[in-house]
């Protein structure tokens, strides 16, 4: 078990280093002048060559790429992560201020996806091809097709028109102002949670239908156990293995999906910061945030693999 974890972590570390290089290359080497982003196309043409060189040096953009890369690594190691082009706040401060909101959204949405998805799957799998099964399958396919950010916009509009209600726009910490915090977080969490619930329900249903055909489930039935007990106690735990893997992967996608969803709700989280960085072409912020998202994604995958190996010895010894 420990060698498995160590091996997974080692591979994860290699991936993270690789990710940092790729993120850096994509955002720095590819065309697109950073000064144009800072001053706008018009402001840029008004600058003299000397001024341009001065600003480039000030931003550390005239050093050789390797040096720039090492500077970035140094910034990561010291925890400051560099500065935004446009704001006084360092990227690290921004992540500390906005990150918790997005993390809350992600966690609540995962819990919600299980609370909604698993019961729906059980109902479906108990009577395949019944009316309830067909309805729940169609609804889950429908939710795969609905873009989360659009659903978010509709919810915001609907609440505004019917109740004149809008979630507070300023950030609120969970500990200082839990009610305002919940109002901010709940909308995106519901939208993202329903999106995941659709995947979870589909996966859990097909996995359950497969497990139900196994011999040990038939034995449990033959013992005279009730249908509910057979499903809940014997079939479900085994059927949930692929669902756990999927849920981990989905959590990573939720982090990405929260970018447009946070924009739709106007949530002051990390996703909104990512949107701002993209629209301002703020390369420093962008590079750190993309890197952060990738690290979290890699770590989530490792966590899922280790959890699965811990639950299921067949994988550990492979």
């Amino acid at each position: 078990m420990y060698t498995y974890i160590v091996r997974r972590l080692a591979f994860g570390a290699v991936t993270v280093v690789g990710v940092s290089i790729v993120v850096f290359m994509v955002l720095r080497v590819l065309p697109g002048d950073q000064l144009v982003a800072v001053f706008g196309p018009e402001g840029y043409t008004k600058l003299s060559d000397a001024e341009r060189a001065g600003y480039m040096a000030q931003l550390g953009l005239s050093d050789p790429l390797v040096v720039q890369y090492l500077h970035w690594i140094r910034d990561i190691a010291t925890g400051s992560l560099g500065r935004s082009f446009f704001r006084a706040e360092s990227v690290a401060e921004m992540i500390a201020r906005r990150g918790p909101l997005t993390a809350e959204i992600a966690l609540i949405s995962v819990v919600l996806s299980w609370v909604v998805g698993i019961p729906v799957a059980v109902v479906s799998a108990l009577r395949p091809n019944s009316i309830a099964d067909n309805i729940s399958r169609f609804v889950s396919i429908l939710f795969l097709a609905v873009p989360g950010f659009w659903l978010g916009m509709l919810i915001v509009l609907g609440l505004l028109f019917t109740f004149g209600y809008r979630a507070p726009l300023a950030g609120a910490s969970l500990f200082q102002d839990p009610i305002a915090n919940l109002q901010i977080v709940i909308g995106p969490a519901i939208v993202l949670g329903l999106g995941q619930a659709a995947y979870i329900a589909r996966m859990a249903r097909s996995s359950l239908l497969e497990v139900i055909r196994e011999d040990y489930v038939r034995t449990a039935r033959a013992k005279g156990l009730s249908g509910r007990l057979v499903i809940g106690w014997h079939a479900l735990p085994n059927a949930l293995l692929p669902v756990i893997t999927l849920s981990g992967i989905l959590l990573g996608f939720v982090l990405a999906g929260s970018i447009p969803v946070e924009r739709a709700f106007g949530t002051p989280g990390l996703g909104y910061a990512m949107f701002t960085a993209v629209s301002e072409r703020d390369v420093f912020v962008m590079q750190n945030l993309v890197f952060l998202y990738a690290i979290v994604f890699v770590m989530l995958n490792i966590a899922v693999d280790v959890t699965i190996a811990w639950i299921d010895p067949r994988i550990r010894y492979r």
């Binding site: 991936t15 690789g18 990710v19 790729v22 993120v23 994509v26 955002l27 590819l30 065309p31 697109g32 396919i141 429908l142 795969l144 097709a145 609905v146 873009p147 950010f149 659009w150 659903l151 916009m153 509709l154 509009l157 505004l160 028109f161 996966m203 097909s206 996995s207 990573g252 996608f253 982090l255 990405a256 999906g257 970018i259 447009p260 924009r263 739709a264 990512m274 949107f275 993209v278 629209s279 072409r281 962008m286 993309v290 998202y293 990738a294 994604f297 890699v298 995958n301």
Partner: protein, 306 residues
Amino acid sequence: MSAVDPETVLPVEPTSRPAERSRLRRIAAALRNFARRAPLSAFWGCVAAAIVVMAIAAPLIAPYEPLKSDFRHMAKPPDATHFFGTDQIGRDTLSRVIHGSRTSLTIAIAAVLFGTTLGALWGLASGYFGGRFDIVSQRIIEFLQSFPDLILAMAIAMALGAGLGTVIVAIAITRIPFGGRVIRAVVLSLKEMSYVEAARGLGASHLRMMARHILPQCVAPYLILATTHLGVAIIIEASLGFLGVGIPPPTPTWGNMLADSLNAGLVPPWWLVLFPGLAITITVLAFNLLGDGIRDILDPRLRGAV
């Protein structure tokens, strides 16, 4: 060339025509079979086809010019002249939704054609040859998958600058790993089949083996994968447009229209939000259900794999 002696042509005709007719008949029979076995998917397949036709014939169908402002009708709710209302500078929403299907479908189809196909061919080669090539390929694919696809697409689109080609490339790159993984798994199981071994025993070259014996078996999973990924590509394209890294305005795309509606004022008019999103949902739903149907008919074993 035109002066062909009719008598030399005649004997050929009777053999070629029925062959053609029987192929048409086979396709028609297959479609009928599809409609009977998966009526829901067949219905949504027709919806998908209708959307494709709408995209192709957009200028003929759209009641107004999508870029033309009518300053007498600005930000008007739906009425008899503008069925879906107008936006804040008086452009007809219905026409913009219809024209938006062009961009969405072009990008989605191109991204899937490049990305999923490249991934599939890569998976075919890496599964077939195995060994070191396979190991390296697997690592690269795992690496590509260490970014959530929307973030990867955003970073690439932002770095390359907005434009049709950029968005296609950005989405195509995120599709590569999926094609690679699924097709590789199929090829790995095919390689052990006895007919493949027999062909190898007969001394078939690698190219012949892949093209003649393995590729045809990969067509079904590829089709299923491609249809499903069309839907995913459309959602990513809409998200990019919504975040302002997609096709630059004023080109109407569904994502751009939703982003524009947020700039229309403190409260976005409901018709500017509802209709573009509805278009995305219906299109994606149509492709997903069509993909589901194709999967059930062609290869029920792939349930859950794609």
